[in-house]
Point group: C3
Chain length 356, copies 3
């Protein structure tokens, strides 16, 4: 149902049809890692060695007729139970105009719309991508979205429950209860966005030449509430992605700029953030897959006195081994996290990602 680079940007899933335009499809995503953290063991001097199941997702999509669809996705929670991340009632009138209601990704930055499964590197850039959310980047609400101008322009405007920044404490201080408004515009110059709906992916593994720019914003009156004060929440960002065949492969570059503001209510969330990513995928197949080295830099600058504040930045140097796009890849990554306060953390992570 999408154009050009669609294939690499959605898991395959098994689809059961039961009448014209009636179907249920079932898919699966798994991410698992081994992490060695320098001096991370409890004795303080040995490296920690940790196996972890990072993510396992059940994907369900359903169609009742040509216009009415549904989505249900789950994710493992910290307590090892399975949580609801997406549950969407979808009224899809035409590519240009759709209404979704339920729990979903609000209009936000490219990294959040990628989720962990459709990034260029393996791990989520949580230092910079920090719009508030109820769970896993999602919130309850409703949105209109569509693809215009030969699917080159994607718009998305929604109203959500919000109040996910800070601690909402009882009835003091009292607020009127306003929704969080989220909006995003994205324009794809060379190849239309190939991901389903308004979702994104930060590489096509060289399948398409991409030049994409996006701008997103979220605002909620009284959206930031602490025990003693209330402020409006405002976040906005610019993000861009370029991928271009060049030499024996394709180069990928992405960048993002973020501004977060809670009216000073949650000082740890007030600040500016930057992300820069660069990768190169080789066309040559070695064994089952292709190599894609990449680097990423992300930084969060707190607004308050930098002497006191914990600015945070992270460097990732990674190598993807891409067997079947986002459906089967391995990655080895060396990560370095630096904070103004606290000591540097160096990690080596080997990860596997499969989607069915």
């Amino acid at each position: 149902s999408t154009i050009g680079m669609a294939a690499p940007l959605a898991q395959a899933a098994g689809t059961i049809t039961f009448g014209e335009d009636k179907s249920v499809s079932v898919g699966l995503g798994i991410r698992s890692t081994f992490t060695s953290t320098e001096d991370g063991a409890t004795n303080g001097s040995s490296n920690s060695n940790d196996f972890a199941l990072d993510s396992v997702r059940l994907y369900m999509n359903a169609s009742l007729n040509k216009y009415i669809k549904g989505t249900f996705n789950t994710e493992k929670k910290a307590d090892e139970s399975i949580g609801v991340i997406d549950a969407i009632a979808q009224f899809e009138f035409m590519p240009e105009f759709n209404i979704w209601a339920g729990r979903m990704l609000p209009a936000s930055d490219r990294s959040n719309l990628n989720g962990p499964y459709y990034l260029l590197p393996f791990s989520y850039p949580g230092i910079v991508s920090r719009y508030p959310s109820r769970t896993t980047g999602r919130d309850d609400g409703a949105a209109v979205w569509g693809k215009l101008l030969d699917s080159r322009l994607i718009y998305n405007l929604g109203a959500f429950e919000g109040h996910n920044v800070g601690t909402r404490v009882g009835t003091t201080p009292g607020t009127s209860d306003q929704p969080l408004v989220a909006a995003r515009l994205q324009y794809d110059f060379w190849t239309p966005n190939g991901a389903p709906a308004f979702y994104t992916g930060s590489t096509t593994f060289g399948a398409a030449d991409v030049l994409s720019v996006g701008v997103a914003a979220q605002y909620q009156k009284d959206g930031a509430v602490s025990a003693t004060s209330t402020g409006d929440y405002t976040g906005w960002n610019l993000d861009g992605l370029m991928e271009k065949k060049a030499g024996p492969g394709a180069v990928t570059a992405e960048g993002a700029y973020y501004k977060y503001d809670t009216d000073g209510v949650i000082k740890s969330e007030d600040g500016t953030a930057y992300l820069l990513g660069l990768g190169y995928i080789f066309n040559e197949v070695f064994g089952w897959g292709r190599f894609q080295p990449h680097v990423r830099y992300q930084k969060f600058d707190r607004d308050d006195n930098p002497v006191l504040a914990a600015d945070k930045k992270q460097y990732d140097f990674g190598l993807n081994y891409v067997i079947d796009g986002f459906n089967a890849k391995l990655a080895a990554t060396y990560s370095k996290v630096e904070q103004t306060t606290g000591k540097e953390v160096d990690k080596f992570i080997v990860g596997v990602q499969l989607q069915f």
Copy 2:
């Protein structure tokens, strides 16, 4: 597998067959709402504005052969994890005689057997439908049920774990451990019940003329236990449903009477309850759907001194927009809740329900 009005009373689901009488089917249900409550904001004077994912259910049905089946349904819990609501091992010898074991809906009132998905209004009548349950109206146990007299008479008799009224506190006061016994008889005069098994639905959206009466009861010796005393639990109810084509559509009327008794152990649960519902669905299709205005009244009268007690009643005035029966409908509802103590609550709710 059912007669007459079956189609509107079960979600479609996708079915995978893997041999004669062998299959697994997978379906999905979603309910999402926007609620505006008068003076409901934390400042006490503004309306609250709340988006919520009310329900998301995975439905699985399975068949091993002509006689052995299984059901697994899940529901979102309050902590956003996914919980088990139905898990049933089903021995279905013939329509007239079936044995089910596991977690299921015990014999109970029509509203509980409707669940939230098969009601005439959008929201569950929790003020009156209050048989005890372990989760979402379900309990662990075993039941025999069947359909007799051309599927007009449905019987259901089960034994369940129970002890879900009050707080079961350690070993004091000590009780013998008796099961909860649940029974229901239902007779459908005009059209046989079209829902699967002993389930029900409170409208066929004008598809069939229905006249149905039911009586249910639950009893558990020592089923009500507080910190200081123990009593027997007894609940019973009458419920009726009528739907009849009339004029440019069909009229629906339902009523229920309940009596709950914990031997005075849990005074807040001892009382009498009443439900009355009325609706009219127009045959004329506007756009994708048909309109079905409806009203509902429910009241719970506590047995103890009414001056002290919190009697509770609720009025709902709603308008369904029915696209595909219980599989796709929108509803707008104005609700007013009144209590003897506490202030009146007025809500306006817009909801969407999809099932696949």
Copy 3:
């Protein structure tokens, strides 16, 4: 995909194919019981009567191509939410060599590799089968395994997160963070193991003559940590299974010997354990199924002073009614649990197990 006795050792599941070697399959398992425990009621003199949903599992298997597969299985948790038990990224190069990563059953004893669904008796032998695990016998990690010598020899070697014995308390005492290593070798003399991968089942219901022996071990440096001390974890066991057609049916015998050692850090886990099982399945079909009487004995001997310690043993006398192997069976069991300290517990359990 397996040989000989495969059919009875895996649930059927419904499979959706979506291209060559691409598929998703969905299955379901349910176990439900009624238990009457002598003097088990809170009054101390009546029998308790308890209905329980013991288990409900969603099974998903997926295949991306001939070599890359995935597994996702869930189980009901104590809080009635659904938890992840298996989530495996599977690289299956050839029957002789496979690499799995994620959450899975580590190399362990036959009972743990049976899980509750593929035992000869109904209930899990938790008194003796006590390798540490994160959840339901599983842990996060990676393993290589394969079937050699006409699938008669199965090897399995893995590294896991571990640290699941005792209470890992903060940074005192500090340890280096070593993985748990788990290994198992199994040889099947008469008929190759018919279960998928390195899984097992403790009866074929007379379908095959089986003579199987296995040895397994788990070791983790600093794997046992209490508030005051740290020790290495070492566990190992021998297990054997024989099934042979004889007379009007087939006889099944199994045995296991276990040695657990935490360097004295967790004294309640240091000890020796024994399991002995015996069954006989009749070929004759009565109604829908065949009868399989069985007995099981299990004992855990603590290493420390037996006068103080709580040695524990259990006798089970059971009768299976086998309708469709492990996919449909009923069982009635009388169990007696004896401890050095504490009183004897006598239970009568009726259970049903279905898999689809």
